[in-house]
């Protein structure tokens, strides 16, 4: 399988995630689209790790494992980030009783 197809697939998922972030106003949906983007990247990383493994398997039997380990760590971080982020969103909801991103324009000042 040509690596190109994996690249295109990953780009497509990533861009769909971006469009989701730009298009939706619900903070939680936006957060979800960010997760989608992260996953697209994960997919690409795994595909690349496979590619490198194939290229360098003769010399080093564990060549390319860095890619998959990196995906592992990305998942770790994503989990932590989701927990904290959702906590913040809940607090926001408690204060403003809305998850509309447009209400959060205090950054203007």
């Amino acid at each position: 399988m040509d690596i190109k197809y994996y690249i295109f697939l990953s780009i497509a998922l990533f861009v769909i995630g971006i469009v989701g972030v730009l298009t939706r106003r619900n903070a939680i949906i936006i957060f979800m689209c960010i997760e989608l983007m992260l996953n697209a990247v994960n997919l690409l990383l795994v595909a690349f790790s496979k590619m490198h493994h194939l290229a360098g398997a003769a010399t080093n039997p564990t060549a390319g494992s860095e890619g998959q380990l990196f995906v592992f760590f990305i998942m770790v971080v994503a989990a932590a980030e989701v927990s904290v982020g959702l906590a913040i969103i809940v607090m926001l909801y408690r204060n403003t009783h809305s998850v509309d991103v447009n209400f959060l324009n205090r950054l203007k000042h």
Binding site: V21, L22, R25, V101, R106, K108
Partner: protein, 639 residues
């Protein structure tokens, strides 16, 4: 030797600094002493130089008629140095400049002494200001006559113009006086433009402005006719501005707004003669351009005539004397125009004596009648102001050209030269001489004769002036009598024309082709006409009450409306043009552009503010867009 010469202008400059900076602290007596003392010092040094000129210049007399001119130039340092072009700060001490040095410092000293009494009512700091300006003026005038090239002369030229402005507007609180000062300065400036253009032309063509380099046959060969005529005409334009000839003469009568000693020094004896000095110095250039000489002669004669007509009907003492000055300057230019450079310089000298005398005398009169300057309310002052009357009479006789006073010899030399050149010029000169005698004696009789026509209060205050004022008058009267005896023509005495002999190496005197018989007739004619004019004036104004006004007399009194013509034809259109430029170009274009930039920045800022909306979504959108742009740049546009 070098340092001694340097002291001549340096002393007045020091006087200027001391009096100018210390005008609030020094006493009036001290200011007066310093002011006059430095001029006396310069006079002493000038006298010493005059008596030892041979030693200074290294001149040697080969025989009684031939002399080798030594090196009269003393260089100090390079004033301007651009590439290989040099203008040195140098003085040229030869006969011509020495003569002028003596006149300037001598008459200047007398006027300084006179001023200590005349201006004694001024407050201390204004008194100091006056003397500072006066000293600065003498300094500039000395630079002018001592300079060894046109640029140093121009420094002095500008300096005297500046001091003239400062001194005319001395009583600056009076708006009319300041306007007169401005007028004088602006008209001077117009002339200065001509002078500068001539200097630039000289530099362009010859690459030097030193007198010793320019006034040589080699240099003159390099200039073609157009150059010569152009340069000399432009130089003459500068002279018309400085020496009040047509068309730039209207500032001089208005300059009478300044104190009387100022009028005496600047507008009679020294500054106005700068033009004549310049042309006399450049006589070689002018001789090579006959066209210019004709122009000069015509303008000189016309000015002399016009000014004399106006003086016939003036009622302010100083205005009469002012127009008289313009007229006499016209005479000097007439002399220059006919090639009689020595006669012009001679008349400069004698005119300095008797005109300064007349002005100082009028100052004494004004002082006596408590500041009144209108002669219609004077009269009968002969008994009350004897010294003033006597000296004034001497001055009038001198200016009318009565033998054996100084004016006779110089004026006759000029008329002789005019006769030799062109009979019409001679006729105009003769007529003007008649008018001169007439209006001067009209002035004398109205002012001093008859009975006093002023207020009682003025009558009580009439008193003769103090010694500090009368002694200079006496000295100048003596000079007016004997001053002409250095230029006695061959007609009367063989070898009597010491002046031409003296100035010979620098200024070539003219060869007059008139035989003795004709000369005698001319002399007699002038004398007779002058005497007739005096007698007529005596008859008319002996017991003066008032004068009849006719249409002609009104025109004369209003100076032929020349000022009004200038105003309507030149000043007002220029003002309107300036206003137009101001509103259209200045406000409409430049200001609009500058304001427009400001407005654009404001507008742009306001628009950019919308970027900071505080909406997260907008920020992310911007991020994505910039990412796209970056990728495009990275992948596709990087060649």
């Amino acid at each position: 030797m070098k340092n001694l010469i340097l002291l001549i202008p340096l002393l007045p400059f020091l006087g200027f600094l001391i009096n100018g900076l210390g005008r609030k602290h020094l006493s009036k007596g001290l200011i007066g002493t310093i002011g006059s003392g430095v001029i006396l010092g310069s006079f002493a040094i000038s006298l010493y130089v005059f008596l030892n000129l041979d030693a200074f210049t290294g001149e040697r007399a080969i025989s009684s008629s031939a002399r080798i001119l030594g090196n009269p130039v003393i260089r100090y340092f390079d004033f301007i140095r651009v590439g290989s072009f040099r203008i040195p700060f140098a003085f040229q001490i030869d006969q011509l400049s020495t003569l002028f040095l003596l006149i300037i410092t001598g008459v200047g000293f007398l006027i300084h002494v006179y001023s200590t009494a005349y201006m004694h009512e001024e407050k201390r700091e204004h008194f100091g200001r006056y003397f500072a300006y006066l000293n600065l003026f003498v300094f500039s005038m000395l630079l002018l006559v001592m300079g060894a090239n046109f640029v140093i002369m121009f420094i002095g030229w500008e300096g005297v113009g500046l001091c003239s402005y400062l001194l005319i507007g001395y009583w600056f609180k009076n708006i009319d006086y300041t306007k007169a000062a401005k007028k004088a300065f602006v008209m001077n400036r117009i002339g200065d433009l001509g002078f500068l253009l001539a200097v630039f032309w000289l530099i362009a063509k010859l690459g030097t402005v030193n007198y010793t380099d320019v006034f040589t046959t080699a240099a003159l060969d390099r200039l073609n006719t157009t150059d010569l005529v152009g340069i000399t005409l432009l130089l003459f334009l500068g002279a018309t501005g400085k020496s009040a000839q047509i068309p730039l003469y209207t500032w001089l009568p208005d300059a009478m707004a300044g104190p009387t000693p100022v009028s005496a020094l600047i507008h009679a004896a020294t500054m106005v003669t700068a033009g004549i000095y310049m042309i006399a110095r450049s006589n070689m250039l002018f001789t090579a351009a006959p066209v210019t000489l004709t122009v000069i002669a015509i303008i000189g004669a016309a000015t002399a005539f016009l000014a004399a007509t106006i003086a016939l009907r003036q009622n302010d003492i100083k205005k009469v004397l002012a127009y008289s000055t313009v007229s006499q300057l016209g005479y000097m230019f007439l002399a220059l125009g006919t090639g009689a450079y020595v006669a012009a310089v001679f008349h400069v000298m004698t005119h300095a004596f008797f005109k300064a005398l007349l002005f100082l005398g009028s100052g004494s009169v004004i002082h006596a009648v408590s500041g009144n300057q209108d002669i219609r309310t004077m009269g009968g002052l002969r008994k009350k102001l004897p010294v003033t009357y006597a000296t004034f009479l001497v001055g009038c006789l001198a200016i009318a050209g009565i033998a054996p006073l100084s004016g006779f010899f110089s004026k006759d030399a000029i008329l002789l030269s005019a006769f030799d050149t062109n009979k019409i010029l001679y006729a105009v000169g003769l007529l003007t001489a008649a008018m001169t005698a007439f209006y001067m004696f009209r002035l004398l009789f109205i002012t001093f004769g008859g009975s006093f026509r002023g207020t009682d209060e003025q009558r009580h205050h009439i008193h003769e002036s103090p010694a500090a004022m009368t002694i200079p008058l006496i000295i100048l009267a003596v000079l007016s009598i004997v001053g002409g005896w250095i230029g006695i023509p061959e007609l009367f005495m063989q070898g009597g024309d010491r002046l031409s002999e003296y100035l010979g190496p620098v200024v070539r005197s003219k060869q007059i082709h008139v035989d003795h018989a004709t000369e005698w007739i001319l002399v007699a004619l002038t004398t007779v006409i002058a005497l007739v004019a005096i007698i007529i004036a005596y008859m008319r104004y002996r017991n003066f009450r008032e004068e009849k006004e006719t249409g002609l007399s009104r025109a004369l009194e209003n100076k032929w409306y020349v000022d009004e013509i200038y105003d309507a034809a030149i000043v007002r259109p220029l003002n309107r043009f300036g206003g137009f430029v101001h509103s259209f170009i200045e406000k409409g274009t430049i200001d609009a552009m500058v304001n427009g930039v400001g407005r654009m920045v404001n507008y742009g800022g306001r628009q950019l503010r919308w970027l900071q909306s505080g909406q997260v979504g907008n920020y992310v959108l911007l991020m994505v867009i910039s990412m796209v742009l970056l990728f495009v740049l990275q992948f596709f546009l990087r060649k």
